[in-house]
Subunit: 136 residues, 2 copies
DNA sequence: ATAATTCCTCTAGTTACTATAGGTTCAAGG
DNA sequence: CCTTGAACCTATAGTAACTAGAGGAATTAT
């Protein structure tokens, strides 16, 4: 049995965030001690790890709710989980593309060595969309 | 002179967002018609483009406020603008790294062709951090 | 037993918008 | 000139995913 603080340490999810996840229905409202403190089992630890991991991968809370739902009905086809992942993959590729073009541009900006704002590439580039290399 | 709607069309920033930016001090509270409607000049169009462009690149509103401040004091050194860009570059590289490892993993997940949840790689991978390839 | 730490709930704040309600003004056509 | 429909106005509230703070109770360590 873990206290909420231990669970937080073990999963890397902050204490208030665990309580928030409980509100959102991502972790169960577990049993309490006589003094009203939450006590978590190993199962809850795993569930929270699942949630944390999913959040790290950029799934929304709504996505995770679906995924948890699915994982609790093992008889169903996995095509729903599959489609959530595919949808997410497209997103992710778009984000990578955008960020790469951003990185190119920032690298250029960060090379700025002008003495005054007049000649600063950062300001210039931001002001003039035509100067951009990428397609953001 | 542009109405707020024209400005929105020209910059790709939605009307309510322009009003929001005005509240946030990113665009000026411009003159109004006798009927209290905003009328923008070409200068405001450029300023809003700067803002939009900066947001696209992922700068926060606070960052942009600083950048605008800097761009209005051309006598200062550009080192502040520079450091904002550099800070942002580090962020961006970290995000790219994370997303790439995410993409690898999602690609793997999306290949899932199991018939039931039991064998679904999506659920499995999310549940078990040890299975991951990346370092998220 | 007492002190330090951790826990509890509840409310409000954060970022960057987006949506809605209820009302006014503008521009075009008759 | 007048009407009508689109675009405008303000103000409030909602969104996601937390984070912070107040004020107080329980647990743990000495």
């Amino acid at each position: 049995m873990y206290s909420i603080g231990e669970l937080a340490r073990l999963t890397g999810v902050k204490v208030p965030t665990i309580r928030y996840y409980e509100q959102m229905g991502l972790v169960d409202a577990v049993e309490r001690t006589s003094g009203n403190q939450r006590r978590y089992s190993r199962a809850e630890l795993q569930r929270l790890s699942f949630v944390r991991h999913s959040r790290d991968l950029g799934f929304t809370i709504e996505d995770i709710r679906e995924l948890l739902e699915l994982s609790q009905h093992p008889e169903q086809s996995c095509s729903d989980a599959h489609s959530i992942a595919v949808r997410h993959l497209a997103d992710t590729r778009a984000r990578i593309k955008k960020l790469k073009s951003l990185e190119r541009e920032l690298r250029r900006l960060a090379r700025c060595d002008a003495d005054s704002i007049q000649d600063c590439a950062v300001i210039e580039t931001l002001a003039d969309h035509g100067v951009c290399e990428g397609d953001h």
